[in-house]
Amino acid sequence: MARTGFKMRTLHFSHAILGGMLLWVSIPAHAALQVFACEPEWAALIDELAADKASVYRATTAQQDVHRIQARPSLIAQVRKADLVICSGAELEVGWLPLLLRRAANPKVQPGKMGYFMAAEQVERLDVHATVDRSMGDVHAAGNPHVHLDPYRMMTIAQSLAKRLATIDPSNADFYHDQQQQFATRWQAAIKKWEQLALPLQGKTAVVHHKDWRYLLNWLGITTVASLEPKPGLPPNANHLARLNQQMKTAPAAMILRASYQAARPSQWLANKSGIPAIVLPYTVGGSDGAQDLFSLYDDTLQHLLNAIGASDLK
């Protein structure tokens, strides 16, 4: 939850005082594009594409469950000032984003406006349901919204976002275009490297805490055999875990995955019972010491996965 990329120009002393006062009243709209990022991964993507042209407010951290955020005063104040609100969309923030938008009364970022950018809605999503019933748990009719761990979808989103940035801030249109080109080149090279590294992961199986890993595992060719949550959004319970333990006896998975914001106990319990390694993945930027930007998020995630199967191969 920090502001980045804001650079204060050198000012004369008298202007500095006035500037300081203005700064308090409103972090200047003229200095940089004001971006409100619902999740750290989108803040990181803005950092890649806009660098110091944007000042990003991170609404959540990797330690928070974004399904459960409240529309608290500080967030309302930040949306009020935003030129761009970037979120996952596809109903991930359904409990708080619509309320923030209404309370903030900011015409630039209302649904349908240029300042409203829903990343997951720029790409095709997996698990779009023709019918949804709440007895299925907290399933999103619009499909799984956790798209940021698929590098190909990320590249598409980066393209759309660069175009959007150029529309909102035309004076820097060329800059955003160049940044996106450079990002795409580096990202494609990274994908090659990652896919090479990830070869040993292909065909492995995993138990997941929640369906956060849908796109990552789909990309890496890892099969999800079970979830610790009995239904999406419902916390793991003893009966369900006991059943999973039985299932692991007949068909053991290679690893148990959870995000840094999820409770440790269910996956540790199953790991102790079954001997399958339980690993914590960063999930998003800031979710581990290693995951400091989008590139290192993927590096670190792969490292953890490879360590896990290395560990299980030794057994």
Binding site: S26, T60, D65, V94, G95, E121, A263
Partner: protein, 386 residues
């Protein structure tokens, strides 16, 4: 319920529809018919739920963006009163969705932004019953028809200033005085975060009304039915504070909410007993104040426990103490108090079962109360308000 796949949360082509189903079992030591708050003229929904099994009011809510400028919401409350099913228009308002300069205009019938709890629906409360001060002053909640203007400051620190202008026909105003512009509210809200784990909000509000003929519960008196009625000026000042804590701001495991509100009301005017013969009247100079403090703790996923303490007090004067007494405005030397504890289980975000105990000393006969309640939401996903 079947939803058509959409990329938008609440189905933009159609209104988001949700329903609330509520019911409870209530057990009392004292008869709920004898309930009173000495020194307060009760009206609106004040009073206890009927004893035994009962249905809380159901709600049907529809809301949608109307176009790129307006949002609209309608809430129907459906409840049984004395065997007849009544549908009440609880909320029906429109609101601008981005006027610029941080301004919002809301018009129609809505819960006033006075205090913290007032603009929350009963199903969003942490306890089954309203705090005593809400029961005593508003008959549970202040709802009015009118206009609200809000301005959100362009600062990192949350500052919101607002005003409401209301018709003032419903309890506790009455009479729709001043040509149907009987009430005003001014309010200010401040809030922010302290690190990742703490968030807070402070509210100040002041409500004033020109009251014409506010009636409270009738009572039989020597064969005649007499209904107390107040005409005069009413002023309420409020301070409310909410502090929330969740480790690293992650609400899914554990979180704690501290909440405190304090209200002070001053009224001056006349009270008469409609139905008395000859008509009995008295001057009335009323002072009522009080509030509540509560703490609610989610100690593990799906489980919350809460503790609440209420205390209110009335100090009313008038030219005829006997008539004040008959109007319920004599405090009878009693300070109403109540202590409540509750435990609730949320199977999912959409269902809740709650057990609550009250040690209720609203009036001279102390009452032990037990409630077992369910609250279920169907349909559109509710908002996570702070």
């Amino acid at each position: 319920m079947t939803l058509i796949p959409t990329t938008h949360a609440s189905n933009e082509m159609n209104p988001a529809i949700s329903m609330i189903l509520q019911g409870q079992y209530a057990g009392y030591e004292q008869s709920p018919d004898g309930y009173e708050l000495p020194g307060f003229m009760l009206g609106g929904e004040a009073g206890l739920n009927s004893e035994g099994f009962g249905l809380g009011h159901g709600e049907l809510v529809m809301s949608s963006n109307i176009d790129d400028r307006f949002f609209g919401k309608l809430t129907l409350a459906i409840a049984d009163h004395d065997g007849a099913t009544e549908i009440e228009l609880e909320e029906a308002f429109i609101e601008t969705t981005g006027l610029s300069y941080g301004l919002t205009v809301k018009a129609g019938r809505f819960f006033s932004d006075i205090g913290y709890l007032n603009n929350q629906h009963t199903h969003a409360w942490d306890f089954i019953d309203a705090p005593l001060i809400y029961r005593g002053l508003f008959g549970n909640q202040l709802i009015d028809d009118g206009l609200q203007l809000r301005w959100l400051a362009p600062t990192d620190f949350y500052i919101q200033l607002g005003a409401e202008f209301g018709r003032g026909e419903r309890f506790p105003s009455g009479g729709a005085s001043n040509d149907g512009k009987g009430t005003q509210l001014l309010f200010a809200e401040f809030g922010g975060d302290v690190g990742d784990s703490h968030s807070w909000q402070l509210g100040l509000s002041h409500w004033s009304a020109e009251v014409v003929g506010r009636q409270s519960d009738a009572h039989a008196h020597g064969g005649a039915t007499e209904t107390p009625s107040f005409t005069g000026d009413s002023d309420i000042s409020v301070i409310d504070i909410v502090w929330k804590w969740a480790p690293q701001g992650n609400y899914s495991q554990r979180h704690l909410t501290l909440q405190f509100e304090y209200f002070q009301r001053e009224e001056i005017g006349d009270v008469e007993l409609i139905g008395s013969n000859p008509l009995e009247t008295t001057t009335y100079d009323g002072k009522q104040d009080g509030g509540y403090a509560q703490v609610v703790y989610q100690f593990m996923p799906r489980w919350q426990a809460g503790l609440r303490y209420d205390q209110i007090e009335a100090d009313n004067r008038g030219s005829d103490d006997a008539i004040l007494g008959e109007a319920g405005l004599d405090n009878e030397g009693h300070t109403p108090k109540r202590t409540s504890i509750m435990l609730e289980h949320n199977h999912s975000e959409f269902s809740l079962v709650r057990l609550q105990f009250n040690k209720d000393e609203s009036y001279e006969n102390s009452d032990d109360q037990v409630y077992l309640q369910y609250v279920m939401s169907l349909g559109a996903h509710g908002a996570h308000r702070f």
